[in-house]
């Protein structure tokens, strides 16, 4: 339980990696690392498909990355419609992990293009807690 707080509107409440929410509430961006083979996972995973290890450790990550692509949503699922238009992005973090996240409304839309340097930061909004891409 507890994972329903992740995002602007959570669909899933039960998961082995629900601790992400409490880390985000403390402004920490955390990944999981397989204790068996050392592979780092972000978004976090409870299980490693490479070695089938299910023992993972929480480790902090740097949020710096570059935008891969983005969009600005005007017609949204009903629970998000009041927030339109809003930005969504896919970024590649240092180290190669990719993250799908909202892009802060404060980022100038004119600057948006693949390669734009952004940073992933925790964000609280209403009941929800998540991460978003912000200007470095």
């Amino acid at each position: 339980m507890g994972f329903e707080k992740f995002g602007r509107f959570g669909y899933v409440s039960q998961t082995k990696i629900a601790a992400l929410v409490s880390y985000l509430e403390k402004n920490q961006i955390m990944a999981t690392q397989c204790k068996e083979c050392g592979t780092l996972y972000f978004p976090p995973r409870a299980d490693c498909p490479k070695c089938r290890g299910s023992e993972v450790a929480w480790v902090p990550i740097e949020g710096k990355g570059k935008l891969v692509t983005f969009t600005e949503v005007y017609f949204a699922p009903p629970v998000f419609q009041d927030s339109t238009p809003y930005l969504l992005g896919l970024a590649e973090l240092e180290g190669g992990m990719r993250v799908f996240a909202p892009i802060s409304n404060e980022v100038d839309r004119k600057d948006l293009k693949p390669g734009l340097e952004l940073v992933l930061k925790s964000k609280q909004a209403g009941e929800g807690v998540f991460y978003q891409l912000e200007s470095q």
Binding site: F3, F6, G7, R8, F9, G10, Y11, V12, T15, P43, V68, T69, F70, T71, E72, V73, Y74, F75, A76, P77, P78, V79, F80, Q81, S83, P85, Y86, L88, L90, M97, R98, V99, F100, A101, P102, K113, P114, G128, F130
Partner: protein
């Protein structure tokens, strides 16, 4: 191992079908496919009902569809692969027949979408993404494809005008398809000035939700030769998957690896090259998708898909006519029916029955059907 053929096809009118329920739509397509094959139900061994069942009021619709078609107690089950459900249905039928477990199978693609409000559909489509890591941020089907569009625009200089050409082309052919939801042409200006959905995609870059059904009667070599003198042979089938999460995918997102992988398998199995294809149906869920598909299927080199459009090579009379039945953009997209609808159009082409839009001498047809936000892609190659 014997070959597998399509011996009959049927198609309902697509669109906002307030007059018909799911089972009745299925009946329209099934009944016309039986007429086409000159068969009656006792000749059918079983049915594969293909729909994205989360849209259906009826849970596990194969049961009720099979009953309504008069096929009980023969085997039936659902196949779900989002928008690629009935292309995957053809693959299952091929396997059932090649294994000699069955001889004649009805693949029934059907979807009833307009009973749901557009908002409900948006919510469902929002959950078509990864529900743990992406849907909580307000994703939508168009948003994902818009992200591919922006990436393609940035890398190759593709423009919104280029994308509009897809809609204009497909809507032009929609005027010739009496089963299509939209049968009126549209101008580039109208596309460019339609309201934004997820930038850079606008309303008329998007296909529409629809109700409809399409049915394929699939048979073994032995049965096919008895049933018809115009069998259309399944030459190659390719199916691949991709990570559902966008973050799980590699590269600049200017192409769908999933389609490239499916195409490679299908071309290998059919022993043909992209240049051998005489007519194609590709998944134009959005205008940008058709451009990416040209490149991913090998009709154009990466970044050169728009050139095919601008030089009219994907028009009737061009090198590789694409979506000359109007595509999803004209026909509408009753998710579970779309794959079978594409294949129905190809069967008519390969049997030289396509009238105004007949491709002269068409011998090899290719259909490509993407599931959801690109987690599945199916490529089917048919031969006259």
């Amino acid at each position: 191992m014997g070959r597998v053929a399509i011996v009959g096809v049927g198609h309902s009118k697509f669109g906002k079908r307030t007059d018909a329920s799911l089972r009745e739509l299925a009946f329209e397509a099934y009944s016309s496919a039986l007429d086409d094959a000159e068969l009656e139900s006792p000749a059918i061994d079983g049915s594969i009902v293909c729909s994205a069942t989360h849209y259906d009021k009826q849970r596990s619709p194969a049961g009720v569809v099979s009953e309504y078609l008069g096929l009980s107690p023969k085997p039936t089950f659902n196949v779900e692969a989002a928008c690629a459900s009935s292309a995957v249905g053809l693959r299952i039928a091929w396997s059932l027949i090649s294994s000699r477990l069955h001889d004649v199978i009805a693949v029934v693609g059907v979807q009833k979408m307009t009973e749901l409000s557009s908002g409900e559909i948006q919510e469902l489509m929002g959950r078509a993404g990864d529900v743990m890591w992406e849907s909580p941020f307000g994703t939508s089907m168009p948003a994902y494809y818009a992200m591919y569009a922006n990436a393609h625009m940035a890398k190759y200089g593709t423009t919104e005008e280029d994308m509009a050409l897809v809609t204009v082309k497909n809507r032009k052919y929609g005027t010739k398809n009496p089963q299509a939801m939209f049968q009126k042409p549209i101008t580039t200006e109208e596309v460019l000035h339609s309201r934004p959905v997820a930038k850079p995609l606008k309303l008329y870059d998007c296909c529409a939700n629809a109700d409809g059904a399409a049915c394929l009667i699939v048979a073994s070599t032995e049965k096919a030769k008895k049933i018809t003198d115009k069998p259309v042979w399944v030459g190659g089938l390719g199916l691949a998957s991709s990570p559902m999460s966008l973050a799980g995918r590699q590269g600049p997102l200017t192409s769908f690896e999933v389609t490239k992988n499916a195409a490679r398998s299908a071309y290998e199995m059919a022993r043909v090259k992209p240049t051998d294809v005489d007519v194609a149906e590709v998944h134009d869920s959005f205008s940008i998708t058709e451009i990416l598909n040209y490149e991913d299927l090998g009709f154009a080199r990466p970044g050169k898909g728009t050139r095919l459009l601008k030089t009219n090579e994907t028009e009737l009379g061009g090198k590789i006519p694409v979506n000359i039945d109007g595509g999803l953009i004209s026909k509408g997209h009753p998710v579970g029916a779309t794959g079978a609808s594409q294949i129905t159009s190809l069967v008519h082409q390969l049997r030289r029955e396509s009238g105004d839009v007949q491709v002269d001498g068409a011998k090899i047809g290719l259909a490509q059907n993407i599931g959801g936000i690109g987690m599945y892609s199916a490529v089917s190659i048919l031969r006259a």
